[in-house]
C-alpha cells in the first residue's frame, strides 16, 4: 500500500503535465527543504542519544564504505552499457553514490505504516551517505576532465567547500549533533514543530517534487532509452543488495528497507549543485533526468514496496 504523501507527488505530476498554473513559490520550497533536512537530522540525533555507540559505528562505517563503492560499481555500467563518455559517466554515478533525503523519509513512513519496529537512528546514515559517493564520483570526473581538456576552472578548495558546506550536509549533520547533544527531554518543547508537522511538510514537498519531475520529463528524450533503463535497473539492483547488506549488519527488517532505499536512491539536492561547481562540462540534463526524472519516482512508487517484500523474504 502506498503512503498518502505519494498521492501528493502524483498530484504535482498531473498538475504540471496538465499545464496547470500551480507553482510553489521558491521561498516556500527553500523553507520546506530546510525544515525536512533539519527535522530528519534532529530525529536521527535524538535516537542516537539513546543508542549504544558500539551498535552504531559498524553500521555507520559500512554505510560510508558502501556509498563510496557505489559509483565505482556504476561507472563501468554507464561507460559500456549506457555509452556515456568519461566525464558524464562518473558525474551520473556521483548522483547515485549520494542519497535522496525524501526517498528516505518516504521509506521510513512506509515501514511505520506497515507496523514494523522502526529504526529511526538510521537518519544518521542519510548524513553519512550523502558525501562519500559524491566525492568519489567528482574525483573521477575531474580526473577524466584533466586528461581530456586540462585543469577545470574551479579549484579543489571551492569544490570541497561546495560538497561539505552545501546546505544538505550542514543541516543534516547540524540537526544530528543538536539532537544528540541535547537529548529527548530537552527537546520536548520543539517536538510539535519537528515531529508533529513532519508528514504534512513532506506532503507539500512531494507536491513540489511532482511539479519539478514533470517538468524534467521532456529532457528524458535527450537522455535516451539506455540511460532511462539504467535509472530503473541501477536502483533496483542497489536496493536489493542494500537490503541484504542491511541484514548482514544485523539491522531489523525496517532498517533493511531503509538501507535498501538509501542505497537505491540518487541525490538531487546536494549532488547537482556540487557537480555543477566541480565538473561544469558534464551535462546536467543526463544526471538530473536519470536521478530525479526516473529513479526518484521509481523508488517512491515501485521500489520501496519491492524492497519491503524482499526484506520480508530475506528474513523468512
Amino acid at each position: 500500500m502506498l503512503d498518502p504523501v505519494v498521492g501528493f507527488f502524483l498530484l504535482g505530476l498531473i498538475a504540471r503535465l496538465g499545464r496547470s498554473d500551480l507553482r510553489i513559490p521558491e521561498a516556500l520550497y527553500e523553507a520546506l527543504s530546510i525544515y525536512l533536512l533539519l527535522a530528519i537530522g534532529l530525529k536521527g540525533g535524538l535516537q542516537l542519544a539513546q543508542q549504544p555507540l558500539a551498535q552504531v559505528w559498524p553500521v555507520a562505517a559500512a554505510a560510508m564504505l558502501w556509498s563510496a563503492l557505489i559509483p565505482l560499481l556504476l561507472i563501468p555500467v554507464l561507460r559500456v552499457l549506457v555509452r556515456l563518455d568519461g566525464i558524464n559517466a562518473p558525474a551520473v554515478a556521483a548522483h547515485y553514490g549520494s542519497v535522496s533525503v525524501v526517498t528516505f523519509a518516504v521509506a521510513q513512513g512506509a515501514v511505520l505504516a506497515r507496523g514494523w519496529e522502526p529504526a529511526p537512528w538510521l537518519a544518521l546514515l542519510v548524513a553519512l551517505m550523502e558525501a562519500p559517493g559524491l566525492v568519489v564520483g567528482v574525483v573521477l570526473a575531474r580526473r577524466a576532465l584533466n586528461e581530456s581538456r586540462g585543469a577545470p576552472p574551479q579549484s579543489w578548495g571551492q569544490v570541497l567547500h561546495e560538497v561539505f558546506f552545501g546546505k544538505a550536509i550542514v543541516l543534516l549533520t547540524g540537526g544530528l549533533l543538536i539532537g544528540w547533544m541535547f537529548g529527548p527531554k530537552a527537546f520536548e518543547p520543539l517536538d510539535p514543530l519537528f515531529s508533529g508537522l513532519f508528514k504534512g511538510v513532506l506532503a507539500l514537498f512531494m507536491l513540489e517534487l511532482g511539479l519539478v519531475v514533470a517538468q524534467r520529463l521532456p529532457q528524458l528524450r535527450r537522455a535516451g532509452l539506455r540511460l532511462v533503463s539504467f535509472a530503473i535497473a541501477a536502483p533496483l539492483s542497489l536496493g536489493l543488495v542494500g537490503a541484504w547488506l542491511g541484514m548482514l549488519l544485523g539491522l531489523p527488517m525496517s532498517g533493511m528497507v531503509i538501507f535498501a532505499s538509501l542505497s537505491a536512491s540518487a541525490s538531487y539536492i546536494a549532488a547537482p549543485t556540487a557537480l555543477r561547481m566541480a565538473v561544469p562540462q558534464a551535462d546536467p540534463a543526463l544526471s538530473i533526468g536519470a536521478a530525479l526524472g526516473v529513479t526518484f519516482p521509481f523508488n517512491v512508487l515501485v521500489g520501496i514496496p519491492i524492497y519491503m517484500a524482499w526484506a520480508e523474504w530475506l528474513m523468512s
Binding site: E26, Y29, V212, Q215, Y268, P272, R276, Q281, I288
Partner: protein, 106 residues
C-alpha cells in the same frame, strides 16, 4: 526662491551578468578582485534558445549580477567571465551606459 544646485554627473558602465546561481560566489569574488567596488545580485528566472530556467529548485536557479563601474573594469570583468565561465555554464552578459552622481562609489 533659492536655486537647487544640480549634482555633478559622471558616465559609467552597467555590466549585467545573468548566470547559473551556482556561480554566484565565484562571480562576486571575480568582480571584486578585478576592480569593481560593489555589486547587486538578484534572483531571476527566464529562458532562451538553450531552454528554460524556471528557478523552481536548487539546480535550476539563476542570478543576475549588476556591477556599475568604469569602462575599463567592465571590460576586464567581461573578458574574464566570457573566457572562464561562459564556455561551460549558462551565462549571458551585456553592457549599458549609465550616469552616476557620486563617482567615488563606482
Amino acid at each position: 526662491m533659492t536655486a537647487v544646485s544640480t549634482p555633478e554627473r559622471h558616465a559609467r558602465k552597467l555590466l549585467t551578468v545573468i548566470a547559473e546561481a551556482v556561480l554566484e560566489r565565484v562571480l562576486i569574488e571575480d568582480c571584486l578582485r578585478l576592480g569593481a567596488l560593489g555589486y547587486t545580485v538578484l534572483d531571476v528566472r527566464g529562458g532562451g534558445p538553450g531552454g528554460e530556467r524556471q528557478g523552481q529548485w536548487e539546480a535550476e536557479r539563476s542570478i543576475e549580477m549588476q556591477v556599475v563601474c568604469t569602462d575599463e573594469v567592465a571590460q576586464t570583468i567581461a573578458s574574464h567571465v566570457l573566457k572562464t565561465h561562459a564556455p561551460d555554464y549558462a551565462v549571458r552578459i551585456f553592457l549599458s551606459d549609465v550616469t552616476v552622481f557620486r563617482q567615488a562609489m563606482f
